[in-house]
């Protein structure tokens, strides 16, 4: 235990980790303040979005009227009626948004999308694709069922949705990469600055030292996760009047299924913990194998950036452990099974640590 604390102390005294924690807190607080300030923007954005649709429909109405004046036609008349109907519903929706009648807004929005899809079938202008509108209708139905207002996933200050936003922004290959680079230095620097020679001339076995290092770095990583989750929860929880039942907010998975935000957060926490264990085992492996900060850092950068590019291009394999480094994606992807994912990460971590121990058992300081 004392050696574990000493390892923690060594990493904390290098200041980089402390600075990283501080920057994380500042980032989350900054985003919360920004979102709080921009709450009115949610209404403005919605009104603007539907005003644009209304303008499109209005242009169509003028065109249809002009055509009917020139040559009356039943088909155009039908289109005009559909456009007028949609125009009226959009007006009603905008009014509901402005009056903050969220339940009415949800229902009217569904009506708008329903009418818009029919209108699109008549070759009318409404610039949203039908799949998105269908998803929106399903979401609104779910929200009405649960009695919850719709949240802007980017600007919301509801605890669970704000936490989701933070997870998306921080618990991704870039966030993990920065943390791992900071933690990785504490391994490689000991070889570069020869401190390891002092440790190797003490009655500590090398496997024990590697395990100790692994546990201490993992604890620091978990500490960072704890800060990310707790700050992103506490800020909105304390300073925002939250909606009752807000943790059952429905989130759409990649296949269009709904999971509650509490389920999302639970899985996000579990995936984050296991991915942290896996990431730290990777640092231990490369740190003790290569013993050079620049090369180890380059490998970590290559792995994470490469993984990000692969994931962004849709190459998602539940058997690729790095897939779980994008926590939001890992939770919302229906192909991923929590038990399989966590078992894979845990199993690989154990294997990597064993390999690290074997490779370093008889190795000297060079």
């Amino acid at each position: 235990m004392k050696l574990f604390l000493f390892e923690m102390k060594k990493t904390l005294y290098t200041k980089a980790f402390t600075l990283f924690i501080l920057l994380t807190v500042l980032f989350i607080s900054g985003l919360y303040i920004k979102n709080t300030i921009q709450q009115d923007m949610i209404i403005v954005n919605k009104v603007q979005q539907f005003s644009e649709h209304r303008s499109d429909v209005f242009r169509d109405i003028q065109q249809y009227r002009h055509l009917l004046e020139e040559l009356p036609d039943a088909k155009t008349e039908k289109k005009l009626q559909a456009a007028l109907n949609l125009y009226g519903e959009i007006n009603e929706l905008i009014q509901s948004i402005q009056e903050k009648q969220w339940d009415n807004e949800l229902q009217t929005e569904m009506n708008v999308y329903q009418s818009a899809m029919e209108y699109q079938d008549m070759e009318g202008t409404f610039d949203v694709n039908q799949r998105d509108m269908q998803e929106m209708i399903l979401l609104n139905e779910e929200l009405i069922k649960k009695g919850l207002p719709k949240e802007d996933l980017n600007l919301s200050i509801e605890p669970s949705i704000f936490m989701k936003k933070i997870i998306t922004l921080l618990l991704n290959p870039f966030g993990f990469l920065v943390l791992l680079l900071i933690l990785g230095i504490s391994v490689t620097k000991e070889f570069e600055e020869k401190n390891i020679q002092m440790v190797y001339a003490l009655p500590i076995s090398r496997p024990y030292y590697i395990l100790n290092k692994f546990v201490s770095l993992m604890s620091l990583g978990v500490c960072w996760l704890f800060i990310v989750f707790s700050i992103s929860f506490l800020l909105p929880f304390i300073f925002t009047s939250t909606t009752e039942n807000s943790f059952s907010y429905p989130l759409t998975s990649t296949e269009g299924n709904f999971i509650t935000s509490s389920h999302y957060l639970k899985e996000a926490i579990i995936y984050s913990l296991f991915y942290m264990i896996f990431s730290v085992s990777i640092i231990i492996f490369f740190g003790f194998l290569i013993r050079n900060t620049i090369i180890t850092s380059l490998i970590l950068v290559f792995l994470h950036i490469g993984n990000f590019i692969v994931l962004m291009n849709g190459f998602v394999y539940s058997r690729n452990p790095l897939t779980y480094g994008m926590i939001d994606f890992a939770v919302l992807n229906d192909e991923n099974q929590l038990f399989f994912g966590t078992s894979l990460l845990a199993g690989l971590s154990v294997l990597i640590i064993i390999i690290s121990i074997v490779l370093n058992k008889r190795r000297g300081i060079r």
Partner: protein, 290 residues
């Protein structure tokens, strides 16, 4: 049980052989000086003995256990150069770490820091230490577990005269109390003061020498009539030379009292006599063909 047993030890570094089939046994406590020019492999030799660097072949036993067994460091300590220290931690942190690893009470930290004279700056960050202060900390870390076998790599580096005297005193005390010490140093004069047992590292081999067989004793006489004294001594078969106003006399068969009596017989007043024992330097010159 041997304190140190080296059998056919070889080590190459970057395709170049540094240690070649070395065998050495030390059975009784004492101080041994490891001597050789820069780059000959003294630090590598100590690193291989302590298994910081694995040997290519051969075996090493420290206090009866193979050096590959990390538990030997409960009874063995190794003072390395000051780069091994954590610059951002305090001296206390270092000593506490060594105590924790060795499962030694924290009370020993106070005891050992007072012993090596570093109590005043024990809780300061090592990054702010001078070279001498770092050397004190390294020594404290090396002796905190009361080792039976102590390796020291250039322990006198960066020490001012008072610290060097203290270091010498501590080494002699440790040896008296049964610790076997192997120290590498460039300071041949200091080596002459602490031990007569030298391990020369030459041509990848160890040459074990007892300086008692090679040492020469010189006396420096400060006389009122230096020229007259020199003539009298020369007439009586003593070889005397002028060294900055003093007469340097080498005594082999003769005793010091003979010289004193001779000078007194000729009524030459003696102001001061200083003894100097040398040997390692001369032998070093011969061995390394300087």
């Amino acid at each position: 049980m041997s304190i140190l047993a080296i059998n056919n030890l070889s080590k190459s570094y970057k395709k170049q052989k540094v240690l070649d089939d070395i065998s050495l046994t030390i059975d009784s406590p004492g101080i041994w000086a490891l001597v050789g020019p820069n780059g000959v492999g003294k630090t590598t030799f100590l690193n291989v003995l302590t298994n910081l660097l694995p040997a290519d072949s051969g075996s090493v036993e420290l206090v009866g256990k193979p050096n590959k067994d990390y538990r030997v460091f409960k009874e063995v300590a190794y003072l390395q150069d000051n780069t091994v220290l954590f610059e951002y931690l305090t001296g206390y942190d270092h000593l506490k770490y060594v105590c924790d690893v060795n499962k030694i009470s924290k009370a020993r930290i106070k005891e050992v820091s007072e012993y090596v004279g570093m109590s005043k700056y024990l809780k300061k960050v090592v990054g702010n230490y001078s070279l001498g202060m770092k050397q004190h900390l390294l020594l404290a870390m090396a002796i905190v577990n009361k080792p039976k076998l102590l390796f020291l790599d250039e322990p006198l580096n960066g020490l001012d005269p008072s610290s060097a005297i203290l270091m010498r005193k501590i080494l002699l005390e440790l040896a008296e109390n049964g610790t076997t010490i192997i120290l590498s140093s460039h300071n041949l004069a200091e080596i002459d003061r602490v031990t007569k047992q030298i391990l020369f590292l030459k041509d990848k081999k160890i040459l074990q020498t007892n300086m008692a067989d090679h040492e020469t004793v010189h006396y420096y006489f400060t006389l009122i009539e230096s020229e007259k004294g020199k003539a009298v001594l020369a007439d009586n078969g003593f070889l005397a030379s002028d060294v900055i106003g003093r007469l340097k006399i080498e005594l082999k068969e003769q005793s010091l009292s003979n010289v004193i009596n001779l000078l007194q017989e000729h009524q030459i007043a003696i102001q001061d006599i200083e003894k100097e024992i040398t040997g390692s330097e001369k032998l070093y010159e011969e061995l390394f063909e300087l």
